[in-house]
């Protein structure tokens, strides 16, 4: 799995590529936590467009980052999940707390609005 981080002012775009499971969750966790520790980022957009697989390990890893962002008063927004990944997010209860947008720009706008 690959994690690409793009910072735009106070917003962090996280592009996940490949498979998010128990084995790769640490790559995601470490990359995002390192960025959050700098205390610059407020909102996080998780771009799942190129994520080809995710299981419940992904739910736990996303929830852990969500809690950190929320504790600092920020927002988290998803964009681009496939039908299957959206179902996993829904089963994990994430869709009730994290909104889904169609692309990164809309997700960035949503961070300001909500």
């Amino acid at each position: 799995m690959q994690v690409k981080l793009i910072r735009r002012k106070n917003d962090l775009i996280v592009r996940l590529e490949g498979e998010l499971d128990h084995h790769t969750a640490n790559i995601f966790r470490d990359a995002v936590d390192k960025e959050l520790a700098k205390d610059i980022v407020q909102n996080v957009v998780l771009n799942l467009d190129s994520l080809t697989f995710m299981d419940s390990s992904g739910i736990g890893a996303i929830l852990g980052r969500y809690r950190q962002v929320k504790a600092k008063g920020g927002k988290m927004v998803f964009c681009g999940p496939s039908k299957h990944i959206k179902k996993i997010l829904q089963l994990g209860g994430l869709l009730t707390i994290i909104p889904v947008c169609s692309d990164e720009n809309k997700a960035l706008q949503a961070c300001i609005k909500i």
Partner: protein, 142 residues
């Protein structure tokens, strides 16, 4: 199809690929394939994290059988076992919240498969059996 793999996290994706290749012969939809891959991934991850406590030691046995359009998968470990299976199957219950586990493994297996059976003996190991029929909706449409 039977295989035995070391209980290491890098083998999770390997098992998914093998099971997907095995099931491909009955021409599943992409959705069905994803659901089977997710279910087996949850079972194998449970063995690694819970049965063998992330020690990366121990063996996981996986058996996959196709009878027509019916898939039967068994995932078995010789790890620490589950003392309270009913509680372990509850959504959101996890023994390892410190590892950011969502407690959704069994729920996802139940959701994506038609039947799920869990047998376990503390100190001996656990066997998870999952059954799923394919193409049900496709036949209904004919």
């Amino acid at each position: 199809m039977n295989m035995e793999i070391p209980a290491r996290s890098e083998n999770e994706s390997f098992v998914r690929v093998v099971v997907a290749a095995f099931v491909a012969r009955i021409d599943p939809t992409l959705e069905e394939l994803n659901e089977v891959k997710t279910a087996v991934s949850e079972a194998v991850t449970n063995c690694i994290i819970h049965a063998y406590d992330n020690t990366e030691e121990g063996v996981i046995r996986i058996s996959v059988v196709l009878e027509g359009k019916k898939l039967c998968m068994e995932i078995e470990d010789r790890g620490k076992g589950i003392a309270d299976i009913e509680r372990a199957r509850e959504p959101l219950y996890t023994e390892k919240p410190e590892l950011e586990r969502a407690g959704m493994g069994f729920s996802i297996m139940e959701n994506f498969m038609d039947e799920l059976y869990v047998e376990s003996e503390p100190g001996k190991g656990t066997r998870v059996k999952m059954i799923r029929s394919f193409g049900k909706n496709a036949w209904d449409n004919h």
